[in-house]
Subunit: 218 residues, 2 copies
DNA sequence: GCGGGAGTATGACAGCGGTCATAGTAGCCA
DNA sequence: TGGCTACTATGACCGCTGTCATACTCCCGC
């Protein structure tokens, strides 16, 4: 989706992320990636001399950046930024997809972690970096909403952990129940951590745009 | 571990779960499973005429039962059963493994979901059943501890979601930080949901043993 | 002894995987 | 025109996969 004209290289990275999301790393073939991207097979070794490992790692980098950038956009879409509201938006991205497009895809970072954590060092590191690129903006946003600094990162980790697990369960059940559940159950806890929930809408709005350059067109 | 003498068939199912846990479904070969189980290759088609699909599905069934049975054992190990204490034990199983044995393995159900949710219907259903076999006892235990029935299952889902996600992050980072974080952050929320936390130790202790037959030697 | 079934042992097959090698095309610069 | 670089195009290789076919070894019931 939205993969119009970005040069064959970017398209292949994007396609790799898409296919990994759906079938996992091991079941995703290089030829398949090229075909999905509408790119010539010969370009694979040209753009990715490091082979599949490099392609997968770049796909994870893209996914991490994408998830991180989404945070700012979620905040911008909220009338009053609150921790629970942010989490609800993060969850809603998945429930929307599952209800409209189906349960074909999960999180590519989760897929890579499951498939490569033990076998491929660089891919595990790329997955770790992707989680960091996602957790960072979330923690930053929480802090902007009045969550004490020392709790911002732990709560961001909790949010992402719950979301990742709920994605797994939702795909297995082909049902968004788990996703809506974690959103509903975790919301109050998140909001309770914001010491000054009244002013957070202003603070959040001001500093939101500094979270990321955000000139990408995610 | 603990896989002494259970007949070749059970050993192969057990080994399949172990290998899937480590490398994912697609990267785990049938020959590898047989070798890991110390079972003859020829037994594969004899015990699992349904092929790899059947073997994987049985491994998921085993994993779900195993996780479900662990709940009762965790409760029995707690001096005073509380929701937070149960969750801490569930998490501790993983931190212990990671700190002593290393980060080689994740959750086999998560691995199967990631690899097969879209490609293999029966395996997706087996994963769903495994999650159910795990969530059920947890929800039951929560109810026994005084959590209102209508919140028991949602909270169980939240616990398992957070745990699954934290396992992913922990493996990617090779660090138990995410696991200890979700345990610490979620604990108060869980205990707050128990309406009568004083008496739950007794109730929990009494009804704990009815959660599962528990005569398996997990 | 002896069928006969449970379980074991190999070998072959067809398919697909990632990767390498090699050759080709296009376009820019001098 | 010549040469250089960026990119594309194929074909081949080897290894591995799941699966099937076939033949073998036990051991139990009769």
């Amino acid at each position: 989706m939205t993969a119009a004209e970005h040069g064959p290289r970017e398209r292949m990275v994007f396609s790799a992320a898409q296919l990994i999301r759906r079938d996992g790393v091991a079941a995703t073939g290089m030829r398949e990636v090229a075909a999905h991207a509408g790119a010539p097979r010969g370009s694979l070794q040209h753009y990715f001399p490091g082979g599949k490992e490099q392609l997968v790692n770049e796909a994870l980098g893209w996914a991490g950046r994408y998830a991180g950038n989404r945070v700012a956009r979620f905040l911008a879409a909220l009338p009053e930024p609150t921790p629970a509201g942010l989490f609800a938006e993060m969850v809603r991205q998945w429930t929307d997809e599952y209800e409209t497009t189906g349960y074909a895809g999960g999180c590519p970072v989760a897929a890579a972690t499951v498939d490569c954590a033990e076998s491929t060092v660089s891919t595990r590191e790329a997955a770790s970096a992707a989680f960091a690129a996602w957790t960072g903006p979330v923690a930053h946003a929480l802090a902007d909403m009045g969550v004490p600094r020392e709790r911002a990162t732990p709560l961001a980790t909790l949010m992402i952990s719950s979301l990742e697990g709920a994605i797994l369960i939702a795909r297995a059940e082909r049902n968004t129940r788990a996703l809506t559940t974690v959103s509903r159950e975790l919301g109050p806890l998140l909001d309770a951590a914001a010491v000054n929930p009244i002013c957070c809408s202003r603070i959040g709005e001001k500093k939101t745009h500094s979270i990321h350059k955000a000139n990408d067109k995610n």
